[in-house]
Amino acid sequence: MVGAISTPVLWEACKKDSATAISTETVSNSGSGTSSTTCAVAPTETEGPFPTKTPSGYVRSDITDGRTGYKMTAKLTIANVNNNCAALAGVIVDVWHCDAEGNYSEYGGSGMQSTNYQSVHFLRGRQVTDASGLVTFTSIFPGWYSGRATHIHVHVYNASGTSLKVTQIAFPEGSGSAVAIVNGYSKGMSGYTTNANDNVFSDDTTKLEIATVTGSIAAGFDLSIKINVPG
């Protein structure tokens, strides 16, 4: 019985037209498997868990991740300059901004990293525009850091991930504005960079990059802006 079972294997190995026998290409990358290089016992585990296709952790509407600050709802409408600024549906919109202290999420310096990637990537999110070109994010009102006015980063991609526009959203400032009401959280506004002095926004003389911001600390703030991209 053993011989009968082994025969096809030997036959396969001896076949002259076997593709594996003919090829002289040398493997330059043997992969990450460890079974061939050690004398370890072969795994004998029940299969699973079975993987399923999962969207990026960026895809979510609420990007707060437990960061403290005044609630802000941001509504971005994406329009197509190549189509009379009609709404652009089905495009990917990434946003990210700093927390109340002015810090962005990023890897820490050590080689260790928490498993909770949702919170590590705080205040970063991705949505796809609806039929009216709209995406909505729930977040906190951004703080500020030295050298920059309050801002939100935006990157708009087409459905296949090709960049259509990298831009930033500026905030209205001055008496009665949300920036003035929030007053830099605990940091205050001493040393704040205004839009006019900001190296990104200072050339925005037509104020296309400045959002409309309403609301209050108690009720939360509502930000809205229309962003025109070459769709």
Partner: protein, 170 residues
């Protein structure tokens, strides 16, 4: 008997030759995210590879971090079980507490150049002794029996597996 506390690190390499479904999904989704995030740094620059970009723009090192959410859902699907590592009985014996994603190489023109690594850091294990090529370890989170008996596993270190940290005589 040493009874030192150790943390294993397993650096799992995933590239175009990876064949398991989980690895393929990590490969495809991290490549797509790489191509998207790359454009945050490459605008106006004639570069196509991660290495070129980092050389010219050191802040592109942030791409490791920026690409990592593309695979966080797949990490969750592992349910904390250390992939690919088996004890002398051929069974899984380790959990991981944390991980870190890194880009090794990539090229927005060519998916076959895309190569990433995920370093998995195990839960703390007690290393009692070394028997031949095997480490005798136990999980301190599993309580000893009434008579003090500990459940143990034997594990042989493999390529891409290292002892990440050591705490003497806990």
């Amino acid at each position: 008997m040493n009874n030192n506390a150790i943390v294993f690190c397993y650096r799992k390499i995933i590239d175009s030759s990876s064949s398991l479904p989980w690895e393929k999904m990590v490969f495809e989704d991290s490549y797509m995210e790489f191509k998207m995030q790359f454009q945050n740094f490459s605008q106006g620059l004639p570069y196509h590879t991660f290495a070129e970009l980092v050389h010219q723009r050191p802040d592109a090192e942030r791409l490791h971090f920026l690409v990592s959410p593309s695979i966080s859902g797949y990490i969750k699907q592992l349910q904390g079980g250390m992939p690919d590592l088996f004890d002398a009985l051929g069974k899984r014996f380790l959990n991981f507490d944390s991980y870190r994603f890194e880009l090794i190489n990539s090229d927005i023109r060519n998916p076959s150049a895309h190569q990433v690594a995920i370093s998995f850091y195990s839960n703390t294990m007690i290393w009692h002794d070394t028997i031949g090529n095997f480490l005798l370890v136990s999980d301190p989170a599993v309580p000893a029996g009434n008579d003090g008996t500990l459940l143990t596993a034997l594990y042989q270190l493999q390529p891409f597996v290292s002892i990440h940290s050591l705490k003497l005589k806990i």
